[in-house]
């Protein structure tokens, strides 16, 4: 089978790219291992809502049509939204088609799938940033009597044995899961490493509204100070809920979740877990970083004459850390029955047989233009803009990269 461009992955990134290629009359096919919005369907916990408000899912030629622009979509709503988008843009999606390898060929790329082979001139990798749950190496030393699961395997508290739970990781995923599990009556301890604190609502508006309006989400990859660092920054500690609740370390402490330092070591055999003494600094870093974001928002509000229209500027209470947080836990004592790894996700490129990975297994690219000519990457953190990994970021990236792709095909056609 032959097409000009293959898009791998039918999530928001792949669908937005499909729409942009259609606009440019570039022949293409979207390959999807499962169904449209597959990761949203199969790899998320039950209560999860999008972290961005409904109005903020603007895709090329499509947007929110309902009457709750400030709400946060449930997973079924997110799936329905993307399914509808696939229909509206008439994306040529081949579902249940798993890519087994992508390799260079004489005139582009050969893509082998479990539903036959494809030949194409250009290929767009839109398989997402969160294919595999990262589990630290020290997980090997956790006693066998402890149940362990990743954030990707977690569905709801009922799935978990009664008793104490250790959630490792305090970004958006870890904080939400800790909140839900602790409220279910399972005493929860949260191991906190580097994290990014942000309030759900600031001065009466959603933080995402501010970041969008003030241009924070449009910060470009080729203009920020240290893009390698910016791409590694963890997700904002946000949650989507009907009540627009802020879930942060203070709100977790208030309901009785115990904060502890980053999980540093588990000794094989005796099951003693050790936690870093850096909790206070991790929290100080996050508070300071949040305040810099709020400073930027305040400056923007003043410059744009908004100060009279929104609530006054203020700062949130610093994160409270107990005087001497514990540094150790005996995993054999029975206090902890379950460990949940909320230690991040990474992409899976095991099927990519093109030498474009760096020594850490990341694709080498310049704003989504991969080193290998005619290959493009989408949907990873800060690909081209701070919003690149958001649904709302797929559109601008698809517009930019489809323009590059079109000129690549044009040049290739002439040579």
């Amino acid at each position: 089978m032959r097409t000009t461009t293959l898009i791998i992955g039918a999530g928001q990134a792949g669908l937005a790219m499909s729409r942009c290629l259609t606009d440019r009359s570039i022949d293409h096919v979207v390959l999807e291992r499962g169904e449209v919005a597959n990761s949203w369907k199969t790899e998320r916990w039950d209560s999860l809502r999008l972290l961005t408000p409904n109005w903020q899912s603007r895709l090329p030629g499509f947007g929110y049509e309902g009457d709750d622009p400030d709400g946060y979509r449930t997973m079924p709503e997110t799936i329905a939204f993307l399914e509808r988008y696939a229909e509206v843009v008439a994306a040529p999606v081949r579902t249940n088609t798993r890519v087994k390898s992508v390799r260079q060929s004489d005139d582009g790329y050969q893509v082998v799938t479990d539903q036959g082979d494809w030949q194409c001139q250009a290929v767009v990798l839109a398989t997402g940033a969160c294919n595999i749950a990262t589990v630290p190496a020290l997980a090997q030393a956790v006693p066998a009597a402890i149940n362990t699961l990743t954030a990707m395997q977690y569905r709801n508290p009922e799935q978990i044995e009664k008793g104490g739970v250790l959630v490792v990781g305090a970004s958006a995923t870890g904080t939400q899961i800790a909140d839900e599990i602790h409220r279910s009556g399972r005493p929860t301890t949260l191991a906190v490493g580097e994290h990014v604190r942000a309030p759900r609502v600031y001065r009466g508006r959603d933080i995402e509204w501010w970041m969008d309006a003030a241009g924070v989400l449009d910060d470009r990859y080729d203009e920020v100070d240290d893009i390698a660092r910016a791409r590694r920054v963890p997700s904002l500690q946000l949650a989507g809920s009907v009540e627009r609740r802020t879930i942060d370390l203070n709100s977790l402490t208030a309901i009785g979740v115990k904060l502890i330092g980053r999980l540093a070591h588990v000794s094989l055999g005796d099951g003693k877990a050790q936690f870093s003494g850096s909790l206070r600094n991790q929290c100080a870093l996050a508070d300071l970083k949040m305040n810099r974001l709020l400073d930027r928002i305040d400056e923007w509000a003043t410059e744009n004459g908004l100060d009279d229209q929104v609530e006054p500027s203020h700062r949130f209470e610093p994160t409270e850390v107990e005087a001497s947080p514990p540094l150790g836990l005996d995993l054999n004592s029975g206090e902890i029955r379950t460990i949940i790894w909320a230690t991040g996700f990474r992409p899976d490129y095991s099927w990519l047989d093109v030498p474009v990975l760096d020594r850490k297994g990341r694709i080498r690219h310049d704003g989504g233009v991969v080193e290998s000519p005619g290959m493009y990457l989408m949907g990873i953190p800060f690909l081209r803009r701070r919003k690149s990994s958001l649904i709302d970021g797929a559109g601008d990236d698809a517009r930019d990269l489809s323009a590059h792709l079109a000129s690549y095909l044009h040049r290739a056609g002439r040579s």
Binding site: H265, Q274, S276
Partner: protein, 186 residues
């Protein structure tokens, strides 16, 4: 970050450090260092440590001179107090590491420092080292570092420099996180 060239001089060659970071990103083998110390018992609890050679950037190096450090214990430990106690030297290591980081981060952020001083306090219940109570650990029960910094920056910018210094500090990491130790007798 501002791109304007402010005249900030904390005496840290940030360009060289950034250059090294770039070079070592491409050649990570060169980033592998080994630090060394030797120590000789003198008499009683008095010992003398020496620092001279180290390995890094793929080859052997030597400090310009050999540095020596006297360590002992104070008279309340029935010692002769011929040098700082080893636990105090740990505090020196932490203070120097954090302070070097403060200077470097401030330079990178174009913040002129006028004065930086740190006071370190570490509590210890010596029932641990004396073997009186096995529930008491030998080491510190906590370390408190208090910085006084006069600099050309807002209080939050200064706090951010100190926080970033902790985040990048080797000695902070060595103290805050476990490290495997192998002690052999040859």
């Amino acid at each position: 970050m501002a791109t304007s060239k402010k005249q900030v001089d904390n005496g840290v060659n940030v360009e060289a450090l950034l250059g090294a970071r770039k070079a070592l990103t491409e050649a990570p083998e060169g980033a592998k260092f080994q630090w060394r110390a030797t120590c000789k018992w003198v008499y009683g609890t008095h010992s003398r440590s020496s620092i001279h050679g180290y390995f890094g950037l793929g080859e052997e190096h030597k400090h310009k001179t050999e540095f020596t450090f006297e360590a002992d214990h104070p008279e309340v430990f029935a010692s002769e107090d011929k040098g700082a106690a080893p636990v105090e030297m740990v505090l020196c290591g932490l203070a120097s590491c954090l302070t070097a980081g403060v200077a470097a981060v401030a330079q990178h952020r174009e913040i002129q420092l006028r004065s930086v001083s740190a006071t370190l306090e570490a509590g210890m219940d010596i029932q641990g080292i004396l073997g009186i109570d096995s529930d008491v650990r030998n080491g510190f029960d906590g370390i408190k570092v208090t910085y006084k910094i006069d600099a050309d920056a807002t209080p939050d910018e200064i706090k951010a420099v100190v926080a970033q210094s902790q985040k990048r500090s080797a000695v902070y990491d060595i103290i805050a996180n476990p490290t495997n130790i192998t002690v052999e007798v040859s």
